[in-house]
Symmetry: C2
């Protein structure tokens, strides 16, 4: 019997409410969500079929059979294609998929497809396989279900956060040593890889690839010094921080498919008053937000506290569009912490807390982010690097 | 004036032949191909419009303006969204895109979209923006155009190959030292990062991300020891190679968006006769193939030489489905070196040469791959790690 996960029940409840007989997933993040299997390379489609009645079915190319069996918690694994002596359902996934849907009695039913991820060309193939089905969009069901993390996901988020913390310690030390952006980043990534190798035997750090590639190692640090902070996201350069500048360190780590984010702004020696005031304003806002991070608080309220705090400090012209995002299977999941959000915090939600300032005219920028878990009674910082004002 | 690339002329010739008035690209690999800009994070769409007449237009969110301007060779950059004091074309990309298409006089024309990559939900948005246009598929045009590499791509492939070679030297040394899979991989990745930091100031090693994440560092090594070679692709484990086993080292490197692949099988001490015979058979086939890697040879012929060589050596039951793939912006591009291929080699083509054997019943596997460039008169191995039989 399949060792199931609470998310399966949540998805099925949403399916029942919307009259969906089966979900068919191709998106790597979703096939992993419903099976625990990430083959890293997706040139041969990985498919999960979740019927309203019964257990999920994982379908993989025959050459991924052993790998899938060893990593997936789904026990009903079907094969397509030809490889070595494996017995498969047929030469291609299209026929194998049709045959599973027939077997489950849903080929003429209502089928949920990931319309925000499925390429048009594949959608047309699905229409060809399922001429009698009603095809509907499952994107919103997944986004909603993914808001609440299951125990296995939370356990892996803690591991990812620990990896990120080790990376941050190494990065801050490298800033203190006078390293350049790229040296800071590579020392930080090496520290995470060392911790992974020495302490996490059963953890995978692969990320989710694209159709043209795969991401073998998702332990990433990038560093932006001084005015390069306005780039927000860029590959680390040989730029050397100068005394009196701030240095932003961005770390994304992944453990068994679940992400954590840890970002810090380090003052490289005493910094100008304008930069110090921006950092102190942000640190104060984070303190104001902390007691609100508990079940029942509207996400929008965290944004509104930030907005009011920035206005009170004279930064009314610099209100960011959002102050964080949900995180989990994706490093950037779809829900934003912004004024428009209608989400109310519940236990099991995970998001980044990152109210920050960019004031290019004053050469002022801050970048501080932590990965937060909402618990039954409040919240927990999963990333635990030293907070407050950091100067080296 | 835009500093153009030969690929623009090739694409325009294909557009003219198919009556396409403009290409609109969202796929990260393609917007990079037509602009040189990889923002790493794609949560705000990056769009390139290539009209049949005139220069490409790069459209980015206002917060990517400075980054885009500094990295792209496209000079016509348009902004959408709101950020700081930037003046933009409007609050969202949809209106900005419609307005550029109006300006170019192609909004009622024939528009090429990437049907093998564009999600259905976005395709529907495009139908809404372009009610008077004829929407056609541009996927095949891109695949065909990408077969021939431009000088800038070849220059970057050489850098990626050099990175991969440094990673391989470190990995082979680590096998000799008795390291486990993960130690071998992390030492190899650290060596590539060190070379990047010390010798390649102007090179970015970011890869192309997904809608939920970004790949900051695409210098990847994974290692599979003994019977784990049958996994083909898996995250490195703590498995220690045993004397008498083969160890497969897989390296993917990227430089300014262009990939190289370098894979070797290392014998950890003397190996059983069956494993040695498999490696010698593959090495002999690679020698047979070498003189055929030149302009004018059908790709399928490289596969057929492999097939005949394996049959002659008694491996008729173990013919692989393909013996390589094209490579460039993608680590795995779409054209396979297989029996069905109709492609004929031309100067500027790049592919991996990787005829290999998997014989699970005999616990025999080989994994050797190099990145090859077809030149005017023959070929060049871009990866140059020691070949032949490797024993440590």
């Amino acid at each position: 019997m399949t060792q199931t996960r609470p998310r399966i029940a949540r998805l099925k409840a949403a399916m029942a409410a919307e009259g969906i007989d089966a979900l068919i997933c191709f998106k790597p993040e979703h096939t992993f969500y419903l099976s625990g299997f990430n083959p890293i390379i997706y040139s041969h489609p990985v498919i999960v079929i979740l019927p309203l009645e019964g257990d999920p079915v994982l379908m993989v190319h025959a050459l991924r059979d052993d790998h899938g069996r060893s990593e997936s918690w789904v026990t009903d694994i079907r094969l397509y294609g030809a490889w070595s002596t494996k017995v498969t359902m047929g030469p291609n996934w299209q026929e194998a998929l049709a045959s599973v849907l027939d077997e489950k009695g849903v080929r003429q039913g209502t089928i949920g497809l990931e319309e925000d991820a499925m390429p048009l060309a594949r959608y047309r193939v699905m229409q060809g396989i399922l001429p009698g089905a009603r095809l509907v969009d499952s994107s919103e069901i997944f986004d909603r279900c993914r808001l609440i993390k299951d125990p296995d996901e939370i356990a892996n988020a803690r591991i990812a956060a620990t990896l990120a913390d080790h990376g941050m310690d190494a990065a801050v030390e490298a800033v203190a040593q006078g390293c350049n952006e790229r040296e800071i980043s590579t020392l930080s990534m090496a520290a995470m890889n060392r911790y992974w190798t020495e302490h996490l035997p059963d953890v995978e750090v692969a990320d989710f690839g694209t159709l043209e590639g795969g991401a073998q190692n998702g332990l990433w640090t990038w560093t932006l010094a001084g005015d390069r902070m306005f780039r927000n996201c860029d590959n680390s350069s040989l730029r050397q921080p100068k005394r009196g500048e701030t240095v932003a360190i961005f770390i994304w780590a992944v453990a068994n498919g679940i992400h954590a984010e840890n970002e810090r702004t380090v003052a490289y020696g005493p910094i100008p008053a304008a930069n110090r005031r921006a950092l102190d304003t942000i640190l104060k806002i984070r303190e104001d937000i902390a007691p609100l991070m508990r079940p029942g608080t509207p996400l929008a309220e965290l944004f509104n506290v930030t907005k009011r705090g920035l206005e009170a400090a004279g930064y009314a012209a610099n209100i960011p569009g959002r102050i964080g995002h949900t995180i989990g299977i994706g490093a950037h999941e779809h829900t934003s912490l912004d004024a428009k959000s209608t989400v109310v915090l519940q236990p099991g939600m995970m998001f980044t807390l990152e109210p920050n300032l960019r004031v290019p005219a004053e050469n002022v920028a801050t970048q501080i982010s932590d990965t937060i878990l909402i618990t039954d009674t409040g919240h927990e910082f999963l990333t635990r690097s030293r907070g407050g004002y950091l100067e080296v």
